[in-house]
């Protein structure tokens, strides 16, 4: 794991998001309560780190347009991963998001005959609609449905690994509720997907070419107004014969540094990725939101 890379990442992200200091005294802040719009998940949707929640990105309530920008870094045993993205939240109802994901194979690239530091990248465009409920105020949980269009930029290599397509669409539904009386947030997501490792290894495969239903969940405990700790789970398809894919787990702590900046650190267990098992590591994510 390269700590220097992590430091550079943190410094760069802070630089990118520092213009918020210029808005130190906005007319009014967005109006959402701290941490109630979650963080940016790997694919750009607001939620936990691994999975979307039924919340809308940004700090605005039903009267405005919110914005969030994030950068995420995962340092695994043999690989590293970065993503960056932006999301707009319209009236706390509709979320449009974009994320660019980059997955570096480091030394494994050589073993796979792709070359050292061979990288897979992907663009994800997402839309999420909060159908009903509110995460904090309603007795009924918040419910949202979403789609994620994913375009892999390394289709030829993904096909060599057994993938069928270089693009795909995920469909998901999320249900989320903050139980204030217990300071606990629970969220669950059901996803229909063909994506191999989020889509970074293409879509569909020699083992299975169809959509499969995957389940994802988050449990979080609010320790203070600024600090949340929790754990997540995400089941994964297993479509590629030569590259087994495992379910994902993480344990995270998210800190609302200010009203506009949330920092998240997580321990992740991503199992086997691109033929190499035991991929564990640390995820760092910084998000600014308005």
């Amino acid at each position: 794991m390269t700590y220097r890379r992590a430091l550079v990442f943190v410094a760069t992200t802070l630089t990118v998001i520092s213009p918020q200091a210029g808005f130190a005294k906005p007319l009014r802040h967005g109006g959402k309560l701290l941490l109630t719009s979650g963080i940016s998940s790997l694919e750009g949707a607001a939620g936990g780190g691994l999975t979307p929640w039924a919340v809308i990105a940004g700090n605005e309530t039903n009267e405005g347009i919110g914005l969030s920008v994030h950068g995420t870094l995962v340092e695994m045993t043999d690989y590293d991963y970065q993503s960056a993205g932006i999301a707009l939240g319209f009236r706390d109802r509709l979320e449009l998001s974009y994320a660019h994901q980059y997955f570096n194979t480091n030394d494994i690239g050589t073993a796979l005959a792709l070359g050292k530091d061979y990288g897979f990248s992907q663009d994800v465009i997402g839309a999420k609609w909060r159908v009903a409920g509110d995460i904090a105020y309603d007795r009924m949980p918040a419910v949202a449905v979403g789609v994620q269009y994913k375009k892999n930029n390394n289709g030829a290599v993904a096909r060599l690994l057994g993938a069928r397509q270089d693009e795909g669409v995920d469909y998901y539904a999320s249900i989320s509720k903050l139980f204030l009386s217990r300071s606990i947030l629970l969220s669950g997501t059901a996803r229909l997907t063909k994506a191999n490792q989020l889509g970074l290894l293409g879509f569909g495969g020699d083992k299975n070419k169809n959509y499969t239903l995957q389940l994802e969940g988050s449990a979080a405990w609010q320790l203070s107004r600024h600090l949340v700790v929790g754990s997540e789970f995400r089941s994964k398809p297993d479509n590629l014969g030569i590259a087994r894919e495992d379910d994902w787990f993480d344990a995270f702590a998210a800190l609302a540094v200010t009203r506009n900046v949330t920092a998240t650190i997580a321990y992740t267990d991503l199992g086997s990725i691109a033929t190499v098992s035991g991929q564990r590591g640390v995820m760092l994510s910084l998000q600014t939101s308005f």
């Binding site: 109006g31 309560l33 204030l180 300071s183």
Partner: protein, 165 residues
């Protein structure tokens, strides 16, 4: 203890059975007649003494309410909403409401949430701001964070009656 109970009964009985009348105490502005009843409070109280203790009893609740009201009237974002509203009455009824919900031996004599927020034009973000000021007041009083959220869980469902009225 039984004396206290008797006093409470004495205090409660004339109020609980009162027909619609402009319930206000000296020092407060007059309000339109309404019927004083427990359901006006908008939430079921907690059981047991735990929450009352977590909020340091009636004295603690009074400090929190006074601080929250002071913060609200002076707030750059929502102060405008409170301007021109009877601060004495708000402090009293809010104290009664929190005290009743926290099971700290009070009755609630204020109006229901729809009536008391009528024509205020409260938006969702105003309610969130008020929650933040309440959190600040509870934090300054030293109320445990989990207990803070437990009170908020009783208040949160009231937003249906407060926002957009």
């Amino acid at each position: 203890m039984s004396l206290l109970f008797a006093l409470l009964l004495l205090q409660a009985s004339p109020v609980a059975t009162s027909p619609a009348r402009p319930y206000a105490v000296p020092g407060e502005e007059a309000v339109d007649p309404y019927t004083v009843e427990d359901v006006n409070v908008g939430a079921k109280p907690f059981d047991g003494d735990g929450m009352a203790e977590a909020f340091h009893g009636q004295e603690g609740i009074r400090r929190i309410v006074d601080r929250m009201v002071t913060l609200s009237y002076g707030d750059s974002e929502i102060g405008e909403i409170f301007k021109g509203h009877d601060k004495v009455r708000l402090k009293r009824t809010l104290f009664e409401q929190f005290c009743y919900i926290l099971n700290a031996s009070c009755i609630y004599t204020g109006r229901d949430m729809v009536r008391s927020h009528k024509d205020l034009g409260v938006h969702r973000k105003d309610m969130n701001r008020l929650v933040e000021l309440l959190q600040q007041a509870m934090r300054e009083e030293g109320v445990d964070f989990q207990a803070q959220n437990r009170l908020l869980s009783k208040l949160a469902p009231m937003h249906h009656d407060i926002v957009g009225r």
